[in-house]
């Protein structure tokens, strides 16, 4: 939970300092942005997953094993399907947090790998509000489109006993 609790600016500076020297030189690359988002938002996804898993009855996967399914089939056909809401909320949360993040990425972006949020801040600093607002609007539209797409792909968990 530490990477979630530490302020973004501290994380950003830490990543820049940690990865600017060999053996792992990532400062200025796109990889460092991805890594930063992954590790910064992972605690929420993991916690959500653990909470959802603890809600599942242990006997469900035992029953699946008893009926002849192997562990892979059990995960694929029972566990993952029942965890759909948690997976969807974790992905949505991680994506929205990443695309709207500014504190950490402001140190990590480079000329080659810039992000919309830091670009918008730059435009505002130059007094170019029109471009900044346009970029912000496009960002909102992209976010909505991706969330709706994820909703479509992952979908809702259908529990048959809820339909009555």
């Amino acid at each position: 939970m530490l990477s979630f609790a530490i302020p973004g600016t501290v994380i950003g500076v830490s990543y820049v300092l940690a990865y600017k020297v060999p053996p792992i030189e990532l400062t200025g690359t796109g990889v460092i942005l991805v890594l930063c988002f992954v590790f910064r938002n992972m605690p929420v996804g993991v916690r959500g997953g653990i909470a959802a898993m603890s809600q599942l009855d242990k006997s469900l996967d035992e029953a699946s094993l008893m009926l002849g399914a192997n562990s892979f089939t059990t995960i694929q056909r029972i566990i993952l399907l029942l965890l759909r809401p948690a997976i969807f909320s974790s992905i949505t949360y991680g994506f929205v947090r990443a695309i709207t993040s500014i504190s950490a990425v402001i140190f990590l972006v480079s000329a080659d790998y810039d992000m919309a949020t830091s670009y918008i801040i730059g435009r505002v600093e130059h007094g170019d509000y029109g471009t900044a607002i346009t970029y912000s609007s496009v960002l909102i539209v992209i976010m909505l489109a991706v969330i709706m797409l994820m909703q479509l792909l992952i979908g809702k968990r259908k529990l048959h006993n809820e339909s009555n």
Binding site: E62, L65, H160
Partner: protein
């Protein structure tokens, strides 16, 4: 009863099960002959479920041997044992219809 039965006997030979410091069952010794109906009756928390789960292979014994028929299944997996079990909570898959629940065991 002219149908040929596929039932097999179940035998526990000094089976013990412990979780860390807690001894769940100790030196359980019994034999249930094929086709017999047996009830385990004891207070809550005495190890009835653990015993049944060890027959099914959902729990591994700490020591002792478990036999189904003439076969030593102590270390055998759930699939190898071919044992059926009805769970206390029924364990119906909530995202499936009644038909899908029934048909689950029939699929590859």
């Amino acid at each position: 009863m002219n149908e040929k039965s596929t039932a097999a006997s179940v035998e526990f030979r000094n089976v013990c099960k412990s979780y860390a410091d807690v001894q769940a069952i100790k030196d359980v010794l019994f034999k249930v002959e094929a086709g017999h109906l047996v009830t385990l009756l004891d207070p809550s928390g005495c190890g009835k479920t653990t015993t049944l789960q060890m027959v099914a292979g959902l729990e591994q014994s700490t020591s002792g041997q478990i036999y189904i028929g003439d076969q030593d299944v102590t270390k055998a997996s759930v699939i190898m044992r071919d044992v059926g079990m009805v769970f206390q909570s029924y364990a119906l898959f909530p995202h499936m219809s009644v038909l899908e629940n029934v048909a689950y065991g029939l699929r590859e």
